[in-house]
C-alpha cells in the first residue's frame, strides 16, 4: 500500500507544477488526500473544514467527533448522502459529469480529514479496506 501512496505523491507533485489550483480531468487520478481536499472537498466543506450554513448546511469537518469511524467517513465519500455527491462511481467517458476518485484516493482523503483540522484519529485506512466497502453502481448514485 505504501508503494502506491508514494507513487501518488510523486505524480501529484508534477501535477502541482502544472497548475496549483486546477488539474485536468485526466490528472485528477493522481491527486493525494490533501490535494483532493483542496481541489474538491473544500468547495462545500470550506477551507480548514469550517463548514457553512445557509438554507442548508455543509457540515463542519473540523473537530468533528463523527469522524471517529473511518467506515462512516469512507462510506460517505464513496456513496454520498443527501446533498453530498458520491465519489465512488465507476468512471465514465471523458466529458462525464460524474465525480470519481479511486479507492486509494478515497483512503487517502479519509486519512487526511481524520488527521487534520483538529481531528486526531490515529487509525489509518488502506485502499484495500475502502475496496471492501459497498460502492455505488453506475445506476445507483444516491445514498445507501
Amino acid at each position: 500500500m505504501k508503494g502506491i501512496f508514494v507513487m501518488l505523491l510523486i505524480l501529484a507533485s508534477s501535477v502541482q507544477a502544472d497548475s496549483p489550483a486546477f488539474t485536468s480531468r485526466a490528472a485528477i487520478g493522481s491527486l493525494n488526500g490533501e490535494q483532493i481536499y483542496d481541489h474538491i472537498c473544500q468547495g462545500c466543506h470550506m477551507p480548514g473544514g469550517a463548514g457553512a450554513i445557509a438554507a442548508g448546511t455543509y457540515p463542519k469537518l473540523a473537530a468533528n467527533k463523527k469522524l471517529v469511524s473511518w467506515q462512516f467517513v469512507a462510506l460517505t465519500v464513496l456513496n454520498g448522502r443527501n446533498g453530498m455527491p458520491p465519489f465512488g462511481q465507476p468512471v465514465h467517458h471523458e466529458q462525464s459529469r460524474a465525480t470519481h476518485l479511486t479507492d486509494a484516493q478515497i483512503a487517502d482523503v479519509v486519512n487526511y480529514v481524520r488527521s487534520h483540522f483538529d481531528n486526531n484519529f490515529k487509525t489509518t485506512v488502506t485502499s484495500k479496506q475502502v475496496t471492501g466497502l459497498p460502492h455505488p453502481t453506475a445506476e445507483l448514485m444516491g445514498p445507501q
Binding site: 480531468r25 468547495g43 462545500c44 445557509a54 438554507a55 446533498g83 455527491p85 467517458h93 444516491g142
Partner: protein
Amino acid sequence: MGNGEGSGSLSRRALLQMIGSTAGSAAMYQAMSSLGFAAESTYPGPTELPGAPKGASILILGAGMAGMTAAFELRKAGYKVQVLEYNARAGGRNWSLRGGDSYTEMGGLTQQCQFDKDLYINPGPWRIPYHHRGMMHYAKLLGVPLEPFLQVNYNAYLHSSHAFGGEPQRFREVKADYHGHVAELLAKATRQNALDASVTKEDQEMLLESLRQWGALDGNYTYVASDAVSERRGYTKNPGGGLSARPVPSKPVALGDLLGSGLWEALTNGDVFDMQTALFQPVGGMGRIGEAFGRELNPLIRYNSKVTEIHQDDTGVTVTFTDSRTAGPEQTLRADWCLCTIPLPVLAQIPMNVSQSLTSAICAVPYAAAVKVGLQFKRRFWEEDEHIFGGITYTDLPIMNIGYPNTGFQSGGKGVLLGAYMWGMNAMQFTAMTPQERVQKVVDYGSQIHPQYHKEFDNGVAVAWHRAPFTMGCFGMWTADTRSKHYDDLCQIDGRIALAGEHASFLGGWQEGAVTSALDAIGRLHTRAVAQGRA
C-alpha cells in the same frame, strides 16, 4: 440495424440513420446536451381549478418558478396562499446578476458585480426552447418580452487545445468539412457497390445525388476546394463588389485531421430537441421573469424566511421558519395544505414528518456541480475583430463554453460575455477556489481562444452552484435506476404535503420542469382538497 423486415426501403432508412448517427454521435448528445432530457413539455394549457373549497389555504415553500407558478394559479382558483422564501428576492435559480448587484456565496465570500448599466449574466438558466410552452405562457402573461437566443452560430469557434496547433476553428468550417468528407466516403462506397446488399440500385442514385448536395461534392463525388464548398465553409477572401470583388475559395481540412481533432463532437449541439431553433431569452436577463412574477404575487411572498421544520397533522400543516439574515426567533405559519419546492439538498436536512418512501426519495438525488463566470471587457472585440454575434464557442479547456451576448449587437462601450460554463470535475474544482481565482483562471484559459482577453479584461463575477446558499447545487441528477425506485414516491402527495420543482420532473435542469411539476402537483392537491372540503 435491421429489425427483421429486411425490405429494400427499410435498409435505406437504416442507412440514412447511419449517416445521421455518424454526423451526430449519440455519445455527444449525452455529453453536450448539458442539462435535461429531450422530452416534450407536458404543459396542458392555461390551468383551470374550479370549485376550490371556501377558505381553503395553502403554504408554498420557495418562490422559484415552481412555487410562483403554483401560487399564481392557486390564488386565481380562490385559495388563501402564502409563500415563504429564503432569499430577499423572487425567482430562485431564475436570476440575473447585473451591475450593482452583490452576491454572497456559502462560506461568506461576497462579490460586487461591477458590470456597466444594462449589462448582466444569467448565472443559472439562460435559454428557453420554443416548445417549453409553460415558460412561454408565463413570460407572455407577465408581459416579459423575449428575444432570440442563438444556440448555433456558424462563425463561433470549436476549439481543441490538442488540434490545429490550438487554433480555434469556425463551426462553419468544421461542419462543412465533416459533412463533405463523410459524403465523399459514402459516395465512394456506394459506387464501389459496397452497399448493394442494403440499398437498391434505384435508391443508390438518389443517395448519390443527396450526398452530392449534402456534402457539397463535385461532379466526381469528391470533396475538394470549390466555389460550392466555399459557400459552405466560407472563403479565404469573401466575394464583394467592384474591382476588388473576386472571391478566393478556401481549402478544406483533411479528414484525418478533422477526425483526430475531436471537434466533430460539438457539431450536433443544436440538433438536440431542447436546443433546436427557435430558442429565446427574456430581454434584460432571465431574471426578468422571476422579478415580474414576484411583483405580481407581491403581498403573498414573505422574503428572508428560512424554513426549518415542516409538520403535518390530521387537519393541516405547520411550518417553522426563521429570519434567514439574522437566524432570529422561530415563527410558525399554518395552512390546510403545503406545496414544498425547496431543492432536495436543502430539504433533505429539514425535519418533516412524511412517509419513509418519500424521505428516501428526497435523499436519493445528488445535485450537479456547475460554474458560470461572467466577464466584462472594455469593448466587444468578439464582434469587432472576429465577427461573432451571439452563440456559443465550445472548447476542451476547463471553461468548456464561451457564450457571447445575444443582444446589444454593435453597441459601443463595454460588453459582457459568459466566459465559462462548466460541469463535472471541472466545476467541482472551480467551486473550491475563491471567486477571484475563478475569474482569473477563466481569463487565462479564455485567452487561448481570444488573445484579446488580457488586454481588454475589465472585471468579472463567478457563480459556483454548489455554493449557492439557496440550492446547494445546480439541478437534481436522476439516473434510470433512481427514477424507477424513487420518482413516483417523490411526486406522490403525502398526507397534506406535496413536492414540486425541477427535481420532480422529467425535464431535469429546465425551468419547464419546475412549471409543469407545479401544475401537476396543484392539480392533484386541488382534487384532494375538493374531495375533502375545507377540513
